[in-house]
């Protein structure tokens, strides 16, 4: 996909637009559209960090497809917990896919951005908490199932991230991989907002950027314990239609050293 009108774009960089938690339904239709008209001049790709809908219905997904479909840049999304509420996540995914929106779930995609191979791995993720204050896979089956889900999702997401054959990697989740970007949320609900297991999967690969949503009252900027830049792009956090991050291609030697097996998309 070409955004060739950007003659003044900086070299060796990818401009990543991102927003999460847009919670689209009929009443919001058209609201984002004016700000999206010129997105091709401002960014090379748009990431949607989950909670695209309110209740995860097919009708709401069609509204998302209308609002974020047909843009001049590729749109890459993960689903959020709201998008699972009606048990119709497969239908939601299909509707978005039909509208040309790439939906990732423990999978990755490599896009060509002006000759730079941009690899994005995505997953909804899940909760469980962070260092020293996290839940364990122990006790009742319900408790074990909760943390097992986070563990399996994180492992498979990490494998998708490591397996991208590209020049630059970005990690996209709905749940948070670090507590940094939760600042502003009550401490008591951190275990429902993210997991260190996602952060650990990210730090094993060190992508150029990690983007998430879900924490509506959190903070935009943070880092993983391993030093990866994290951005919480939940719409009520960034308070604009999308944020744009200009990310430089990492030194090639470092990237080659960390590259694993090529992943299926």
């Amino acid at each position: 996909m070409s955004t060739a009108q950007n003659s003044n774009r900086p070299p060796n960089c990818v401009r990543v637009a991102a927003v999460g938690d847009v919670h689209i339904d009929e009443d919001v239709l058209g609201r984002y559209r004016p700000a999206l008209e010129r997105i091709g001049e401002k960014a090379d790709v748009l990431l949607l960090a989950g909670d695209l809908t309110r209740h995860g219905t097919g009708d709401e997904a069609r509204c998302v497809a209308t609002e974020f479909g047909g843009l001049p840049v590729p749109v890459v999304a993960v689903l959020g917990n709201h998008d699972y509420h009606s048990d119709a996540q497969e239908e939601v995914t299909k509707i978005l896919d039909d509208a040309g929106i790439i939906v990732l779930e423990r999978t990755g995609v490599v896009l060509d951005c002006f000759g730079i191979r941009l690899g994005i791995a995505g997953a909804k993720g899940f909760g469980g908490g962070f260092a020293g204050r996290c839940a364990s896979e122990f006790g009742e089956p319900e408790m074990k199932a909760f943390i097992r889900h986070t563990r399996v999702v994180s492992q498979e997401f990490g494998a998708a991230l490591a397996g991208l054959d590209c020049d630059m990697r970005i990690a996209l989740t709905h749940y948070a991989p670090t507590p940094d970007t939760l600042l502003g949320e009550p401490l008591e609900i951190y275990p429902f907002l993210g997991s260190y297991l996602l952060g650990e999967a990210i730090d094993a690969v060190c992508p150029a950027l990690a983007v998430h949503g879900h924490a509506h009252a959190g903070t935009e900027r943070g880092m993983t314990p391993g030093g990866v830049h994290v951005r919480n792009v939940a719409h009520p956090v960034i308070k604009q239609a999308y944020s744009v991050y200009q990310v430089a291609v990492p030194a090639r030697a470092e990237e080659t050293e960390k590259a694993g097996e090529p992943a299926g998309v």
Binding site: H23, V28, K42, Q240, Y245
Partner: protein, 82 residues
């Protein structure tokens, strides 16, 4: 035990679980006896009004003050270099 604490929890759950609302980003604060405040942002004026209507309907015995806003959707003016 302050029974207002139970009301606060009930209010928080209604904001998420009542299908007419389904918001997880609204904060409930206890102001004084039988009086609560709601804050946070939603995606439309219609949703803000619906929340106020649903809360009034389900908690007729409480005073609930709303300070809910609608999140702006303007085009970004700046690019952050990461």
């Amino acid at each position: 035990m302050n029974p207002d604490q139970y009301k606060e929890s009930e209010l928080q759950r209604v904001l998420t679980e009542d299908e007419r609302v389904s918001e997880q980003g609204i904060r409930v604060s206890h102001l004084e006896e039988r009086t609560f405040a709601l804050s946070g942002e939603v995606e439309s004026q219609k949703r803000k009004e619906r929340i106020e209507q649903v809360v009034a309907e389900r908690f007729p015995d409480l005073t609930v003050k709303s300070d809910i806003g609608v999140t702006r959707v303007h085009e970004p003016e700046e690019v952050e270099e990461v």
